[in-house]
Amino acid sequence: MLSEKEVKMRIDKQQKKILVTLLLLCLITPVGILLPMFFNAGNAWGEWSAQTLKDIIGYVPQGLAKYSDVWKAPIADYSINSGDRSVIHQSGFYLVSGIVGATITYVVMLFISRLITKKDE
């Protein structure tokens, strides 16, 4: 049997390992825009902007036009400047978005979990 201290150390080590893995995932997020670029793949199905949809079907549905701009996201499309054509810049924006987004998600979820999990006896 492992002592309580040994168990705790193992858990700490495991958590550290997962955190490092997540950090590595952050660092390779640019793959998520580079691969589609390389293989010339566009939007996900059903996620076209109003303008793109107009190019495809010839018009912007009225309701869609009304709602599509209802919210202006501060880092829209994981980029701080979507007009910038530089692939390197876009990769950088994407990477930073990954780090920022994952960190916020992590912290918010820690906070919520603290409120809603069962207290240990």
């Binding site: 958590q15 997540l22 010339n40 793949a41 199905w45 978005s97 994952a102 603290r114 069962k118």
Partner: protein, 232 residues
């Protein structure tokens, strides 16, 4: 799979938002009785993982892109209710900060990827695994759970898109919201997920569940809850 603003009519996104809120209310109660505070760090990491894995857009050459969601593995490791909350947090942050998925569509997106998907994954895993702890069986069941949960979620999303022309169009027959009907939306979304993205979700699920099976099997929720259900 992140439905943007404008693609769903209020007749669709309001009820889905209601369903999501109701599910969350139940979920919070379930987590309170089911998930111990030891899991707090893991739940944070699970939410961050889901956020990140959704950033890995994979291309279908010359076509569209898609991605895994991570709900499947989180549901097996921490239970469907905790998965629901973790993935919702990721989706809500994606919508508000990064404009990935609409604000009006938050209920729909959370219902699809954070409520429906973890439950499908969890029960598919339970049925296929049938309480085994044999490595090949567990890994296979996890793959199937990841695969089917993502494929079925993509079909659910396609149905939400595809019913829009039936719900609302202008007098001259033009769509008001998503312009594609079921006959277009379902094949488009189902085929890419059946042939590609579902397999990715399956591999990720199998790989991570396999890791915890080797290193910390006691942590896996689907095992802890196993005995009770299996005896029925």
């Amino acid at each position: 799979m992140h439905i943007p603003d404008g693609y769903l009519s209020p007749q669709t996104y309001i009820p889905l938002f209601g369903l999501f809120v109701a599910a969350t209310a139940i979920g919070v109660k379930k987590v309170k009785t089911d998930i111990s505070a030891r899991n707090i760090p893991y739940l944070g990491m699970a939410a961050a993982f889901s956020f990140l894995i959704m950033m890995f857009n994979l291309p279908i050459p010359g076509g569209t892109t898609g991605h895994a969601v991570g709900s499947a593995v989180i549901a097996i490791l921490f239970g469907p209710w905790a998965a629901m909350i973790a993935v919702s947090v990721a989706l809500i942050i994606q919508a508000f900060i990064f404009g990935d998925g609409g604000i009006t569509a938050i209920g729909a997106n959370c219902f699809n990827m954070a409520v429906f998907m973890p439950f499908v994954s969890y029960y598919v895993f339970k049925i296929f695994n049938n309480n085994s702890s044999e490595k090949r069986r567990v890994t296979f069941s996890a793959f199937i759970a990841g695969y089917f949960s993502l494929v079925l979620t993509s079909i659910l999303t396609a149905v939400e898109f595809g019913i829009q022309p039936l719900i609302a169009s202008t007098a001259d027959g033009k769509a008001l919201y998503c312009p594609y009907d079921l006959s277009v939306a379902i094949p488009a979304m189902a085929i890419e997920h059946l042939l590609f993205f579902g397999i990715i979700e399956g591999i990720i699920t199998a790989f991570i569940v396999g890791y915890f099976l080797r290193n910390d099997p006691g942590m896996i929720y689907a095992f802890r809850k196993g005995g009770k259900d299996a005896n029925r």
